[in-house]
């Protein structure tokens, strides 16, 4: 072992490898050219292409009618007539569902962040036994699966007439999102420099003023990330909405989609309309991702390594 190592080391040091084409320095060190790696690369790109392909395929099919989709699933649309979207919007009642989803998502995400941010700020700035056990108390919620609370929530909300109500659903979303948002924002506030806050406090700013005028503007990025992550999770949330909402005019998009699919069992399949429905659920997420992609992945992976 030792001899080979010294051997190679000397060789590398003494005789820099002669190459025909100039290569970047890093590449010479980090990269292996092996068959395994080649296969890996091919598989990776296949995976990447598949991840784009399903979406492209879904959007294409949304512009075709059911019969031609069934006849040839690989075909292209003959026109860009959004007839399927119109059907989904009117017959499938996706219009109401989209409205409900948009309002619920935005209101609940906004309130979640508005309520979680001060708590996270406090927990990140004041360190004593109480705050560390409170942080723990919030974090514990991360491990509780939604199906545990769905029955009690239904019973409890029923008592106060908040089942089948978007207000009830909003409240539930806010409560359920607390652990993640507090956790994320606590980690985020901890990463901010303290000097400006201290300076503000020395200048006589009140504790609240420091939070409101110094920390919040500094934390804009993190708060936006937290907000958008909540938008994504509330937009996609299915189990709680399915349980708590019963009447069609209250449905959010995922529930409307499920009911649309179940109707088709009786009324014959309308694949075209269904594809349009899928697009309405997926494409807003794509827009958000294209807009804020990097920040979202960072938000979802920050705090994770800690």
């Amino acid at each position: 072992m030792t001899s080979t190592v010294t051997d190679q080391t000397t060789r590398t040091l003494v005789m820099p490898p002669q190459r025909n084409r100039p290569r970047p320095r890093r590449a010479a060190i980090g990269r292996d050219r092996s068959v395994v790696r080649g296969v890996g690369l091919v598989l990776l790109w296949v995976f990447v292409v598949l991840n784009v392909a399903w979406m492209v395929w879904m959007v294409i099919q949304a512009f075709r009618d059911t019969r031609s989709i069934l006849a040839d699933p690989w075909g292209l649309p003959t026109s860009l007539d959004p007839v399927n979207f119109v059907t989904a919007w009117t017959v499938g009642d996706f219009a109401t569902a989209t409205m409900n989803s948009v309002v619920t998502t935005i209101v609940s995400s906004f309130l979640t962040v508005a309520i979680a941010a001060p708590a996270a700020y406090y927990l990140s700035r004041v360190e004593n036994r109480l705050t560390s056990s409170l942080t723990m108390y919030f974090v514990l919620g991360l491990g509780i699966p939604a199906q545990v609370i769905v029955i009690p929530l239904f019973v409890m909300l029923n008592e106060v007439y908040l089942t089948d109500s978007l207000i009830g659903l909003n409240l539930v979303y806010i409560g359920v999102s607390m652990p993640f948002t507090v956790f994320l924002l606590t980690a985020f506030f901890r990463s901010l420099p303290l000097e400006m806050e201290e300076a503000a406090a020395l200048d006589g700013t009140t504790a609240f003023g420091t939070f409101w005028r110094i920390t919040l503007p500094l934390a804009k990025g993190g708060i936006l990330t937290a907000f958008v992550l909540q938008v994504i999770s509330h937009w996609n949330e299915t189990l709680l909405a399915l349980t708590l909402l019963q009447s069609t005019e209250k449905y959010t998009l995922p529930v409307a989609l499920i009911s649309f699919i179940q109707q088709q069992t009786y009324s014959g399949a309308d694949w075209g309309g269904l594809f349009a429905g899928l697009c309405i659920v997926v494409l807003p997420m794509l827009v958000i991702y294209l807009w804020l992609g990097r920040r979202l992945t960072e938000g979802l992976t920050l705090g994770m390594g800690k």
Binding site: I29, V52, W74, I151, P152, G175, L239, R294
Partner: protein
Amino acid sequence: MTEVAVPPAAVRVALTGRRGGGSTIDRARRRLFVPFVGPAFILYSILFVVPALYAVWISFNKWAGAGPMDFVGFGNYVRLFSDKLFLRSFGNTLLLLFVVGLAIFVIAFALTLVLRDMAGKKIARSVIFFPHLVNAMIFGVLAGFIFNPGGLVNTLLAAFGVTDPPPWLSQDNLFPLIMVMMTWITTGYFTTILMAGVDRIPPYYYEDCALAGANAFQRLRYVILPLTWDVFGTCAVLWTISSVKIFEIIWIFGGSSGAGMPPTQTWTTAVYTYVTAFSGESVPAYGAASASAVLSLALVSVLVLLLRRVMKREAIEF
């Protein structure tokens, strides 16, 4: 070789030192406790913690949702373990947790190693992350089109001369398909997290490896693995928590498959809980449903504690 993994003098920000802040500031801050933490605490307690505790209580009772509760102690749990349907659902949850989990980790780690220094890494990374942001239900619905008798897969296979493809969407084949789908849509997310860990490894370790003549395997064994170990632990915990919740992809898998309820072969504990309580076809058994949910919570807790113990190592600062 081992000394490669030993980090240079750990640079550590002494957090405690930074938080001194002066007692006046601290005292002023402490007055914000009730208005700042109060609302979050109350909402979270009422809408999350109380329901969770209430679920434990319900699971000890026989209850149809209305009328009196009937205390039965561990009766619901005992009954669950003699219920074939529940055992099957529980088995499926375990399959998702362990088999899909293992597949995801192997693939994600392999992808990470390939992604680490390839051209177009940013694009590839962004693309494979996206499925995490999409409702898993969508993939369940799409699977119905991809695998139906005249669907994408079969027409593709026909082009290669396969005339007798398996009945993908038959009830017994659905669950394996769900497992494959779950692997597909989750791998990208975990790859991103692992990548974040691998990216933190400073390049001079690799340079040192090259100088020491370490081969790819040795580099993996002595540098990459030890330095990303904690990220692996986090990923395992995340997957444990999220795999137990899997519901919507199963609820709708394969599109409109019939009676508005998935075939029992594909149930997980989450589906079992939902159906037992809300199917509307029989008298709702809130007790049994809660017991099933509490069992999945117990599964999560035990596994997370175990993982923390197993993955616990001297944290390497670098």
